[in-house]
Point group: C2
Chain length 346, copies 2
């Protein structure tokens, strides 16, 4: 077994603290990565706090992982020692179902194996990226370029693919009006991709103070949703809303901003169910859809797209000893736009 | 003015009763129809009872209208005295917005003018088909064939187009698994169209007693949704669910029956908002969509399709004096599948 160290939550009530544990040996199809940076996702906190479902503890969060390959199994074909690599939200899936075969491992019929807070296919808990090293089968390892900031690449593995994938799936691009709801880790990536794909991007926010930041990211327009006049002016005007908000919000108001045939795409996960009036959908053949991360192939495509278009996340690098303080700031929305842990501080 | 008679509700608390009123004179672009049959839609009752919004009273319900043309305006091009004709849920729209130009008058930017319980574009209340005659601008009049039962054609004007339109929009057909939720006026038409379009049709019902009826309509499969084993067997199996239910129901359970990328299409309108967990959508890129009736052009296409494929509604013809009793039976689901008023009984 490989000795590893990490920051872990021992239960849902306790702050993260240093923890030593064991990773599996590098198997013939495995890649071992020395983790250099790991992004801090809002879902890390949701999972530590059992917001969605009871967690597997001790829990080592982190699914925005980048680092350097330090060992490869005998049968590994696509990775070499010394290369940069990334790992996102999944580390395994059945690999044989219809969805896996189509590159939609995130929707594996058996369920994919999450990078942490899950049991792997042999029943062993998975531990995430707030750690010095990880062992992952090569099919779930991504190639990472040295042309972009490595720390700022980490959030692409979740926040990036989670916004890239639905915009690609619904073919959002030139001629479309895209609203991005929420300007956090996901939202700011949604703006960057929306702009890169050629859409007219409007940021919807409750807070007028975010306008300058939204425009800096490339957004063309900004609407303060607490101002009824501004909201009225964009009624029935968007082809798509990319909804990155994981707090409760008034879905029927947002649906009224969609054109006929418009799609409201949820990528955030509010803990409470959404309340949707049938008339909000019928009056314009509107849809509410959900999208979860992206498949491995599409994640690689996104990383390559980011290299071509010089897209990374806007980040604030932190010391892992400040993780609890960083969670507090994240909850207040006091981060532009993603915390990334420098794993050298572990 | 034209003297007309009808059954009307004087307010939301009172049963329908005979009422005399005036229709506008036949204008140069108008068609006057002697109403022979009018279908009884669940939404008639919702509107009389102010379930959705405060109504315009006195209210003459009815938007599944068929009859014979008895007068045409000087500029009417497409209709002649003596022909059969139909009128559905709309009698006007702006005719110039993007949606109207595309034949989506139901989604007119200004709002379409509903056949009853609405004010027309000059501010005069509209009165529906529980009446001996109606005057409608020709753009909103449909050609009705004499090859099908006229009484059984009436429900096509709402129940028919409301199910035909979304199945066409989402291109439901061969190779698709379609579930129809609810086996009433809308649901039974959904089954007939789904079968005609080549889909494998499953009826989802809480009541095992409806299986024979569903199969008679052409459904290939039947699932009793109160039986957990039967539900489990169809998890993640449908491409589309056509949801015709206007009572509260467990959306998250139904969403779990959709395949990856599956679409749950709402055409019924429950009075309370639906409660939808984000995970129900994210876990398979599923959507909940709504669809409202259909445009005029598509309604004519649907009527023509029905002639070609010998499709009509299964009906029970009633005397208008039994309307209140019929509403009571409709509320209990005691009708196969649509009441149609014989207007000769007025």
């Amino acid at each position: 077994m490989i000795q590893a160290k990490a920051y872990a939550a021992q239960d849902s009530q306790t702050d993260l603290a240093p923890w030593d544990f064991e990773r599996r040996e590098v198997g013939p199809h495995d890649v071992q990565i020395e983790i250099l940076f790991c992004g801090v996702c809002h879902s890390d906190l949701h999972q530590i706090k059992n917001d969605w479902f009871p967690g597997v503890f001790p829990m080592v969060p982190g699914h925005e992982i980048v680092g350097r390959i330090i060992k490869v199994g005998d049968h590994v074909k696509n990775f070499k020692i010394g290369e940069l690599a990334g790992v996102g939200c999944m580390v395994d899936s059945c690999q044989v179902c219809e969805n896996c075969k189509e590159g939609l491992e995130q929707y594996c019929f058996e369920g994919n194996t999450q990078t942490y807070n899950n049991l792997d296919r042999s029943g062993v808990p998975t531990y995430g990226g707030y750690s010095n090293t990880i062992v992952v089968r090569e099919e779930f390892v991504l190639h990472v370029s040295d042309k972009l900031s490595l720390a700022a690449t980490a959030p692409l593995l979740c926040a990036g693919i989670t916004t890239y994938s639905p915009l690609r799936h619904w073919k959002v691009g030139k001629g479309h009006k895209l609203a991005v709801l929420g300007l956090g880790g996901l939202g700011h990536m949604g703006v960057k991709f929306g702009v890169a794909f050629g859409a007219e991007v409007t940021v919807l926010s409750t807070s007028a103070s975010k306008e300058a930041a939204a425009k800096e990211l490339g957004a063309h327009k900004f609407v303060v949703t607490s101002d009824p006049e501004q909201v009225k002016a964009v009624k029935s005007s968007f082809d798509f809303i990319l909804d990155t908000v994981s707090a409760p919000h008034d879905m029927n108001m947002y649906l009224s901003l969609l054109k006929t045939n418009g799609v409201h795409i949820c990528v955030g996960v509010p803990p409470e169910p959404m309340s949707i009036a049938a008339f909000s959908l019928l009056g314009g053949r509107r849809s509410v859809a959900g999208s979860g991360i992206g498949g491995v192939r599409e994640t690689q495509e996104m990383l390559d797209f980011c290299v071509q278009h010089n897209i990374v996340s806007d980040i604030e690098v932190i010391d892992i000893k400040d993780i609890t303080k960083s969670y507090e700031r994240m909850l207040k929305g006091d981060v532009r736009y993603r915390f990334v842990i420098d794993m050298a501080t572990l």
